[in-house]
C-alpha cells in the first residue's frame, strides 16, 4: 500500500517536471554595490502555455529573462530551461527570444541581419522569408535596419525569434512601439503560436494585452514574485454593482441574504457585492419585493489592471 503510493508520487512528480519548460528556483541577481535586481525568484512555466511576466519598471523582468537565456549568470539560485542549463547550445537551439530593445546591425538590411542569426543558429536560410512574411516585414526586408521605424525594428526582432521555429519563445515587451494594428497582429500571432505545444514566456506592461493572451501570469515586484497563477484565480469571482434607493435598506437586505456575500458601499447609492452574474436575477427580485427601487444592476469583472494595481498597492503597503 505505502509502496504503491510512493511510486504514484514519483510518477506525478516526473510528469510535472516533464511539462515544466522553465523552472526557476530561488533565482537571485545582485549588482554591486547594493542593487538586488532579482531576489529569490521562483517561477514555473509549463509546456504549451502563454505565461505573462508582469511587474513595474525595474522589477527585474528583463534580468530574469536574461538569466533564463544564460546571458546573465545568477548570483544564487538556479534555473532549468527545456531540461538543460540556461545558455547551453542545446537549450538555445530550441528558444527564440527578444530581450529588451531589438538590437541588430544598423548597416545591414533586415534580411541580412536574419542571415547572420540563421548562420549562428545553424538553421536553413530558407526560414528567413517565411519569418519576414509572418511579421509583415517582407516588403522592407532589404532596407537597412537603421532606416526602420521603431515598430519595424520590433517586428524584425519577432522574425528573429521565430527563425528557429522554437519550442519556447521568450518575448520581452514585444509590443513596445507597435501601432494598434501591430499590437492586434502581435496578439493574434502570440495566440496562434501559443495554441499548440509551443510555450510563450511574455513580459509586458500592457495589462489589456496580457489579459487577452496569457494563460497564467507571474507578478514581480522588487525582484520577488508576489503572485503566480491563472488570471481567474487572481481576479476572483467578480462583483455585482447595484444602484438602489434607499441604499441603507438594500444593504441590510443583502447582508442578511443566505450565502452571505460581502457588501460594500461605493458612492452615494451604489453597492458592490461579491457575487456571480447568475445571482443578479435573484438579488433584483429580493430588493424589488422589499420595496427598494433598483435603478442599475450590472456584473462587473475587475480587469487585470485593477487587480494588478490592487496587488502592487497591497505589497507596498505591507512592506
Amino acid at each position: 500500500m505505502s509502496h504503491a503510493m510512493e511510486s504514484d508520487v514519483t510518477r506525478s512528480d516526473r510528469e510535472r517536471c516533464g511539462e515544466c519548460v522553465v523552472a526557476a528556483d530561488g533565482l537571485t541577481k545582485r549588482y554591486p554595490p547594493d542593487i538586488t535586481a532579482v531576489d529569490n525568484l521562483s517561477i514555473s512555466v509549463f509546456r504549451g502555455e502563454v505565461y505573462g511576466f508582469i511587474g513595474p519598471n525595474g522589477a527585474g523582468k528583463t534580468t530574469t529573462l536574461r538569466m533564463i537565456l544564460g546571458l546573465v549568470r545568477p548570483t544564487a539560485g538556479s534555473v532549468v530551461v527545456l531540461g538543460g542549463r540556461p545558455g547551453s547550445p542545446d537549450s538555445l537551439a530550441r528558444i527564440g527570444a527578444i530581450v529588451e530593445a531589438p538590437a541588430f546591425y544598423p548597416y545591414l538590411s533586415g534580411r541580412n541581419n536574419l542571415r547572420v542569426l540563421a548562420c549562428h543558429a545553424g538553421v536553413s536560410e530558407g526560414r528567413i522569408e517565411p519569418a519576414l512574411v509572418e511579421v509583415g516585414l517582407a516588403g522592407r526586408a532589404d532596407d537597412r535596419f537603421k532606416s526602420y521605424s521603431m515598430g519595424m525594428k520590433q517586428r524584425l526582432g519577432m522574425a528573429a525569434a521565430l527563425l528557429k521555429d522554437p519550442e519556447l519563445l521568450i518575448l520581452d515587451e514585444p509590443t513596445n512601439g507597435l501601432d494598434p494594428e501591430g499590437i492586434a497582429e502581435m496578439r493574434t500571432l502570440i495566440r496562434s503560436l501559443g495554441a499548440g505545444q509551443r510555450t510563450v514566456l511574455l513580459s509586458s506592461h500592457l495589462m489589456g494585452e496580457m489579459e487577452q493572451v496569457c494563460d497564467r501570469i507571474g507578478v514581480v515586484r522588487y525582484g520577488r514574485v508576489i503572485y503566480e497563477g491563472t488570471l481567474d484565480e487572481l481576479r476572483g469571482g467578480g462583483r455585482l454593482k447595484v444602484r438602489a434607493r434607499p441604499v441603507a435598506a438594500a444593504r441590510e437586505l443583502l447582508k442578511d441574504r443566505p450565502g452571505g456575500v460581502r457588501v460594500s458601499l461605493e458612492g452615494e447609492d451604489t453597492l458592490l457585492l461579491e457575487a456571480g452574474a447568475d445571482e443578479a436575477e435573484g438579488i433584483n427580485r429580493l430588493l424589488v419585493e422589499a420595496g427598494v427601487e433598483v435603478s442599475e444592476l450590472c456584473f462587473h469583472q475587475p480587469t487585470l489592471e485593477d487587480v494588478y494595481l490592487d496587488l502592487i498597492e497591497k505589497v507596498d503597503g505591507g512592506s
Partner: protein, 285 residues
Amino acid sequence: MAGIKLYLRSVQAELLLLRRRVSYWIILAVYAVTGMLFSYVFPYLIYRDAIGGPEAAARIALAILLPENLVRYSLTGFPFYAGIMVFIVGVLAVGSEYNWGTFTNTLVQRASRSRIMLSKLTALAIALLPFVAINYILGAGFSAGIAMIESAPITWPPLWDIARALALSWYILLLWATFGAFLAVLSRGTALAIGLGIFYALVVEGVIALFGRQIDALLFISRIFLRTAGYSIVTSLGAMVAGEGGPGAFEGPFITPARAAVTMAAYITLFSAYVVFTVNRRDVN
C-alpha cells in the same frame, strides 16, 4: 564534423558582417591610396626632383622603387603603417557589438560564445588578406610603371620570397588586428579602444624606444613591443627598415626574427584567449 560545419557557418556570418561594412572598405581604400602615395608616388617625384629639392632627391635611390626590390620595400609598411589600419578594423569588428548591444541577440542563437568569438577572429584574419594583397598588387604596378619610365629592367623577386613576404605581412597584421579585438573587449566598445591603441602605438612605444637607447630597463621593455617584433621579423627577408625617413623607418632595437616570431605568436594567442575567455565569463547586459 557537424561542429565544424556550424563553425564554418558562423565564420560565414562574421564575414558577411565585415564585407557589408562600409568602414572596412574605407579603411582599405585609405590604406591603399596613402600607402602608394608615400611609398612610390612621393619618393619617385622627389627622385625626379619634381618636389623636395636636389638634396632630398640625392637621398633617394631609384633601386628601391624598382620591381626587383618589391618584397624588401613593401614589407617595411606592415609593422606599423598597415598595422595601425587593421588595428582599427579589429576594434570595429569586435567593439561595435558592444556599442549596438548585438551580443544580446547573437549569443542566444545556438553557437556557444567561444564559437562565436573564434569565428569572429577567424573572419577578421581572413579580412586581412585584402590588405596584404592590395599592397603587393599596387606595389607591383607602381614599381613596374616606374621601371618602364626609367627604362630600367623589370625583374621580379623570387616567387618563394614573394610567398614568404605575403605570409609574414599577414602574420604581422594578425598581431595588430587581435590587439584591436583585445582592446575592444577590454574597454567594451570602440572609442576608448581606438584611443588607447593609438596612444600606445604612437606615444608609449615611440617614447620608450627613444629613451630606451639611454636607459637599459626601458630597452628591455622596448624589446617586447609590437613594433619591435614586426620590424625585426621583416628583416629576415632583407626589408630595408633601418633607413632614414619615410613610413618604414625604425630605429630599433631589433631582436632576432625567430624571437620576433615567437613574441608575435605569444601576443596573438594571449589577445585571442583574452577575447574568448572574457566574453565567455562576462554577463551580457
